[in-house]
């Protein structure tokens, strides 16, 4: 497979115990990632060696989770096509599509033919 696999040694965090409730598989930027069921997307990405979760709208600086409790908004990612989701407040699900967010998020604009002038 032509995907860049993340080396587990690069991960800042490792899992302490075997999850009792099984695991799920989600995708980050198209790459499959497994994670214990019930944990947050932020925890899953950190355990899988994801560095920056997004870049900032102002200076394009890389960011990753800081607070893990929903107050800092630095863990914003795209989840199943929805931009700016707080990864630390979102629980992993099988088949979930998570994407890194570059700069400002954009609103999904109406496709041609739907009317509204721009």
């Amino acid at each position: 497979m032509h995907t860049k696999t993340l080396s587990p040694v690069a991960a800042l965090f490792r899992s302490d115990d075997v999850p009792a409730s099984g695991s799920v598989t989600l995708r980050f930027d198209g790459r499959p990632i497994t994670a214990p069921a019930g944990i947050s997307v932020a925890a899953a990405l950190l355990l899988n060696g994801v560095g920056p979760f997004r870049t900032t709208p102002v200076r394009s600086a890389p960011r990753a989770p800081y607070c893990m409790m929903g107050v800092c908004f630095d863990c914003l990612v795209e989840v199943d096509g929805n931009a700016s989701r707080q990864a630390c407040l979102t629980v992993v699900r099988d088949g979930m599509e998570v994407r890194r967010q570059e700069g400002a998020s954009s609103l999904p604009l109406p496709t041609q033919g739907e009317g509204h002038g721009r």
């Binding site: 800042l12 950190l46 960011r63």
Partner: protein, 460 residues
């Protein structure tokens, strides 16, 4: 269901919220508790019901004891709405929240806000780099996901949580590269005037001493009285730097966990336009309330750390007190028994608060880590506004945090000022040389949690 009026709506499932719910149920009140997480416990007892025996043992008996509270709540008959992001609480006692993409509103007779605490911002060079997190954040990662640092980690700052996490990591088998803390002689001198109170709270004191001894026995390098923290790295943390005994030290690490105490999460009380005052011992804002935690005569009570930092046990007591006051206000039978119960709860609260002034004095974060002297340090993480820019705004006539928005969008990003508000208040008060109460805070407006236009449109 949504059209029904609930006797009591509680926001937050930490110790204050859970205890308030259990107490209110005892006196026959209908209770609905809303919380952002999937399970009860708040951050302090995060995932306590799901935690394995090993995890509970690593986290210690104070954590494991939280399971009594979550179990009491589960059996109380209160309704628990999990995964609910409360984005507005109104003076009309309506509560708006989003759950699973659906927007809902509930009407209450009375409300208890128990939104808890968050870690104090730590604005130093490099604090926005990936690989820099709160120690509390790392503790949440362990509680909720069993995640431990892969490589030896640096813990830096001050406060009980820093040593607690260090001790828990040792028990869990994670390695510590160094513990660097800022507490120095002048802090002990300041704290010594509160020693009598600390001795009354000797259990907590002994726990702290035991943890420091543990670090020493395990050969963890401890740098006491360090200052001038910074983190080096191009696009991620590479090294932690500090000044120790007059010389500059550099410790390579890809993960740096910072902590300098916790502060009240006041977003909801500010959004209600409640009057807040600056607490100079705890260096934070707290809402003005009556002795039961009620904001003016609003029917809205604040309990626990969101009313001022008191810790988990005292938070639970405050939750009980608010519930007792509410039961009496709503004319529930048993007024005399409640008076007896109230004096019991007040006694336990007094005992729990003995050690607080000592802790506040001993672990007062140094000024340079609250009001960065380096102009280039980012203060507002969202809009990337620096300390130098804030000082420049003041030179140009900026009077308070609210005006910094017009000067440079400070505090206008997704976190709504949560991570910069205290820093901006302190920077402006310092630069203007006026009391914090004169400088004020941001005007916080609902929605206080992100809500999409689609979710708003679906409001019923």
């Amino acid at each position: 269901m949504d059209a029904d009026i609930v006797d009591l709506i509680i926001v937050g499932a930490g110790p204050a919220g859970l205890a308030a719910a259990c107490e209110a149920r005892k006196w026959g009140l209908g209770v609905t508790l809303l919380d952002e997480q999937g399970a009860t416990g708040g951050q302090i007892y995060r995932a306590v019901d799901a935690a394995s025996a090993k995890r509970r043992s690593v986290l210690g008996e104070d954590y494991a004891a939280g399971a009594e509270l979550t179990a009491a709540f589960a059996g109380s008959g209160a309704r628990h709405i999990a995964g609910a992001a409360v984005w507005n609480v109104g003076r009309d006692l309506k509560v708006n929240y989003v759950q699973g993409g659906a927007n809902r509103v509930l009407q209450a007779r009375q409300i208890v806000l128990a939104s808890g605490a968050m870690e104090r911002p730590f604005p130093i060079p490099g604090w926005t780099l990936p690989g820099v997190m709160g120690a509390g954040a790392a503790q949440i990662l362990y509680k909720s996901a069993g995640a431990l640092p892969t490589d030896p980690v640096v813990l830096a700052g001050c406060g009980p949580l820093l040593y607690l996490l260090a001790s828990q990591y040792l028990h869990a088998g994670a390695r510590l590269k160094a513990v660097v803390h800022t507490t120095q002689r002048r802090d002990y001198v300041r704290a010594s005037s509160h020693l009598a109170g600390a001795l009354l709270g000797w259990r907590d004191l002994r726990k702290g001493i035991r943890m420091l001894g543990e670090l020493r026995r395990n050969g963890v390098p401890v740098y006491a009285g360090a200052e001038g923290f910074s983190i080096e790295g191009a696009d991620r943390a590479e090294a932690f730097c500090f000044t120790y005994k007059g010389s500059r030290k550099r410790i390579e690490s890809s993960l740096v966990l910072l902590h300098q105490g916790v502060v009240p999460n006041t977003q909801l009380s500010w959004s209600l336009r409640a009057k807040h005052r600056w607490n100079d011992a705890q260096l934070c804002w707290e809402p003005e309330t009556d002795e039961y935690g009620q904001i003016e005569a609003s029917g809205i009570y604040v309990a626990g750390d969101s009313r001022g930092i008191v810790g988990a046990k005292a938070s639970a007591s405050q939750g009980r007190l608010a519930a007792l006051a509410i039961a009496t206000k709503l004319d529930r039978p048993g007024r005399d028994q409640r008076l007896a119960r109230e004096s019991e709860v007040r006694d336990e609260l007094r005992n729990q608060l003995h050690i607080r002034p000592f802790l506040d004095a001993l672990y007062r974060p140094p000024a340079a880590h609250r009001m960065p002297p380096e102009d280039s340090v980012i203060v507002c993480r969202c809009e990337e506004v620096t300390a130098g820019q804030i000082r420049k705004y003041v030179e140009l006539g900026c009077q308070g945090p609210n005006q910094t928005k017009a000067f440079g969008r400070c505090g206008m990003g997704p976190c709504q000022g949560r991570l910069c508000g205290l820093t901006v208040t302190e920077l402006i008060a310092g630069a203007r040389g006026v009391p914090h109460d004169d400088v004020g805070y941001y005007r916080i407006r609902p929605p206080i949690k992100p809500v999409t236009i689609g979710e708003l449109a679906g409001l019923v």
